[in-house]
Amino acid sequence: MFWHAHLLSLTVAAPFVAALVLLAAPDLKGAAAKTVALVGAAASFAGAIAVWASYDLSQGGLQLVEQYALVPAYGISLHLAVDGWGVALLLLTGVIITTGVLATWTLEVREREFLVLLLVLVSGVYGVFVSQDLFVFFLFYEIAVLPMYLLIGIWGSEGEVEAKGPFAFVWRRFKVGGREYAAMKLTLMLLAGSAAILVAIVAMFFAAGGTSFGFDTLQGAAYPRSMQLWAFVLLWFGFGSLGGVFPFHTWSPDGHAAAPTAVSMLHAGVLMKLGAFGVIRVGMMMLPDGAAYWVPYVGAVAVLNIVWGAMSALAQKDLKYIIAYSSVSHMGVVMLGAATLTQDGWNGAIYQMVAHGMMTGLFFALVGLVYHRAHSRWVPGMGGFAKRMPGVATFFVLAGLSSLGLPGLAGFVAEFLVFLGAWQSDHAWWAVPGIIGAFVTAVYVLRVGRDVFFGEGPAEGFEELSDAKGTEWAAIVALAACLVLLGVYPNLVLEFIHQATTEYLPLVLGSGATGVAVLP
């Protein structure tokens, strides 16, 4: 009973406890430290699976509720509960952190500290997905964002961007593309978002009576329309900057390129989802009038994101930048689904979070692996790697296929639902650039696959190339298996997502505007 009653807090705490263990034991090094981290990550993953198994679909709503007072004076409490979305996103987080730790096994520099930060970060991610108190939600959100600075700044890799364009003078002060630059830019842009979120949260708190930060209070409150209009923009900007919304996405390519493998995996795989999740869960659901007003713009920007990200990826020559821009493009799909305000669109948006999380996790794991062996990210210098790393090549193509929406892989289900939702929305045309974006994805993803793995080569200087080994295999195969599983049997998690969407969408549309029935 204890386990069930505290399942959520245990899941959230598991990585944190592992981090504390690592922190308390400075002598843990190498494989021992990694094993501790793996145990913590796997425990949280097991918790996520237990949540999935124990969530009662026929009942729906919030389940596994836990509530502890935190700052009673301001009505803040640690209120954890899971809904259908939470089930799906917890599973995603569990998969990504577990495989992320596995993919980190080759790290040999300050690995204990690295794992501590990584685990703390992932505790925050779990927390966001199960928080039912806006303030605690925000706190967890910050835990998830902040360790990035050190993770990228210390363990990141260096890059360089040529000084060009009308703002070339900026290079006098910043080493654009470097890891310190990337870490600083990412942190500042994301925390600028956080500041905006905080202002909106404070406004919502007072407008809802100033007694509680609970979702249940804030969600039903009658906010003045004028306040909703500006507060929604703040939330959109705030969460959206983490979700890679144009034009606040520019931290993402630099950040992802500089970040070490596991961090890229976690960041693109899960963290960017927090942003999109925030826009939906807080922005749209709590400020329906604001959402109704701004949704055409949100959708239009999302469409721009899809095409912009894909076109930018097309022109990149750095392996990590390509994948990073593809994340910008794919997060556009999430935001597009959200902006449709339709059942299919929202289902697709959340499903895309899961699907893209796994896909981009796999991508970054593979890219990290290639980088680890080739010591280069420069695509034009590569070629023919498949000879030495056939497994990596195969899985890279698989990830690429999921990203371009090949049926049978997770990406298709998500994109299909989103486009379906788009066509049902008031802005049917959104589907068209969305689909074009998927085509452009096919162009750049498969091209980079060819440029890196196929054709003649490998050239001189790539003698150390070898296929994945041991734990790397475990990470890659697990992610690929998830992609296939989610592509073949989507209802495995879609039922849960659908359940929550059914409950939440009317909040935005207003009770009169929908007749969405619960699945039989």
């Binding site: 902040l146 600028a192 202002v199």
Partner: protein
């Protein structure tokens, strides 16, 4: 009860005074080589008084109403006592090593400034105000000038310049403020705050009020009265700067609150535009000038100016929750900023300056110090899970409640800029290679002081509830 001779509300102040006299006597009696004990004595005594503050009843009125105890004043006294104890604890090494034979006077002066500050929040007459301020301010100037070094490259070589700048600006502003006070007296016909509050609202009164406000702004280092701050912080001995950066600021804010909120609270429409103007330029200038700094102490000086801007937002809110927020903010600020300066002292103890390059790779040389510094910086930046976050949050909430949404937006936006310069320090600490690999030796007292600060920052951050409640209770007593 004859309140003229009721010393009950002044018990804590008198204890500190007694400690000061004890130090004076001991200084004479002790052999020159054993004077280290004076610092420890000060630390222990202040900590003891701090503990006693939870036992002794210091409420009531003294000097026929010229002095008023109570929860609000007590909150401030605890802040001062805490800051004093931590500085004594962390500064003993510094004083012992750098001022051999002169330790006694150092601690004595420190204790006197403490007495001055502790008198201030309870003062209800302009005379006591001025006396308390001067008792606080003059020994501080002397402490800033304490190093007597002939070595032009040694530590402390800039202390005379630092002290001179502090002194001259202080003298100018004190003289003009005194003129303002005399005008207040002239307009009101009395020196008691309640008399002034009831005075007819003549131009003379407003002239006096705003001149006084300017003088107080000098104390907290608000723009444009801030220019002595960076130079003094950079040149004065680091433990003194740490103390200077928190305790007198709190005292200044107590005085501002007494004048603006307690005395002229009803006429807030008169002074609010002025305070808002000062707040805005303080926030902007403090943050903007902190960005390009290369010296850690100087950077923290500008950041401290910016922090005063946030505190002024709380004052501008002009309500009870504003006062509560100010108290909470100050409590967090004392441990955070003092902790940061103590780390700087630990790292740059024998260096002529605190250039950021001295912090390169601190992570490797002293992981504990590096971590503590990181936490202090994050707290200053207002990042969740450390006390600074709650402080900023509550400030914003109070300002929002008072209808100052634009000020919330400005403050939130500038906090991103602040994050940039705080992270610059964190960056060199964690991401740059150290010039030398030698580990940094940190004395026990310093270690304990930093650990206490850290515990405060993290503890208040993780569990702000009790402090929030205490601050609210104290604020409720204010003006009651």
């Amino acid at each position: 009860m004859n309140t003229l001779v009721n010393f009950q509300p002044l018990m804590l102040d008198l204890m500190v005074l007694f400690v000061g006299l004890l130090v004076l006597v001991m200084d004479v009696l002790m052999p020159p080589g054993r004077k280290r004990g004076l610092g420890q004595l000060t630390a222990v005594a202040l900590a003891g008084i701090f503990a006693l503050s939870f036992v002794v009843d210091v409420s009531g009125v003294a000097f026929s109403g010229a002095y008023e105890g109570g929860a609000w004043a007590l909150f401030f006294k605890r802040l001062f006592l805490g800051a004093g104890a931590l500085v004594a604890l962390g500064g003993t090494d510094h004083v012992d090593r750098r001022y051999p034979g002169r330790q006694g006077e150092f601690w004595l002066l420190l204790l006197f400034t403490l007495v001055g500050m502790m008198l201030l929040p309870g003062a209800r007459t302009l005379v006591l105000f001025v006396v308390a301020f001067e008792l606080m301010g003059m020994p501080l100037t002397m402490l800033a000038a304490w190093p007597k070094t002939e070595d032009p490259t040694g530590p402390g070589r800039r202390a005379p310049e630092a002290a001179l700048k502090m002194y001259l600006v202080s003298a100018a502003s004190t003289a003009i403020t005194a003129m303002g006070l005399s005008l207040l007296f002239g307009a009101a016909g009395g020196l008691r705050l309640d008399v002034i509050a009831a005075a007819p609202q003549t131009p003379l009164l407003w002239l006096g009020l705003f001149t006084t406000l300017g003088g107080l702004s000098y104390k907290i280092g608000a723009v444009p009265f801030h220019q002595w701050v960076p130079d003094t912080y950079e040149g004065a001995p680091t433990p003194v700067v740490g103390y200077l950066s928190v305790a007198p600021k709190a005292a200044g804010l107590a005085a501002i609150s007494l004048i603006l909120v307690e005395t002229f609270g009803a006429a807030s429409a008169r002074w609010l535009p002025v305070v808002l103007f000062i707040t805005v330029i303080t926030l902007v200038v403090g943050n903007a000038l902190a960005v390009p700094q290369r010296d850690a102490k100087r950077l923290l000086a500008y950041s401290g100016i910016a922090q005063m801007g946030y505190l002024l937002i709380a004052v501008a809110a002009n309500n009870e929750s504003g006062q509560a927020v100010m108290l909470f903010y100050l409590a967090g600020y004392v441990v955070t900023n003092l902790g940061a300066f103590l780390v700087i002292e630990a790292v740059c103890a024998d260096a002529p300056d605190a250039d950021l390059s001295r912090f390169h790779g601190l992570y490797k040389r002293a992981p504990g110090l590096a971590f503590a510094l990181l936490i202090f910086l994050l707290s200053l930046a207002g990042i969740p899970f450390v006390v600074g976050f709650w402080a900023k949050l509550y400030v914003f909430m109070a300002a929002y409640e008072a209808g100052l949404v634009w000020l919330v937006a400005l403050g939130a936006g500038l906090s991103i800029l602040a994050l940039f310069y705080y992270l610059r320090i964190a960056k060199v600490v964690y991401m740059r290679a150290p010039a030398e690999d030698t580990p940094i030796a940190v004395g026990g007292g310093m270690r304990l002081a930093i650990a206490l600060c850290l515990a405060g920052v993290v503890g208040f951050g993780a569990w702000p509830g009790p402090i929030v409640d205490a601050a609210r209770a104290a604020a409720a007593a204010f003006g009651g």
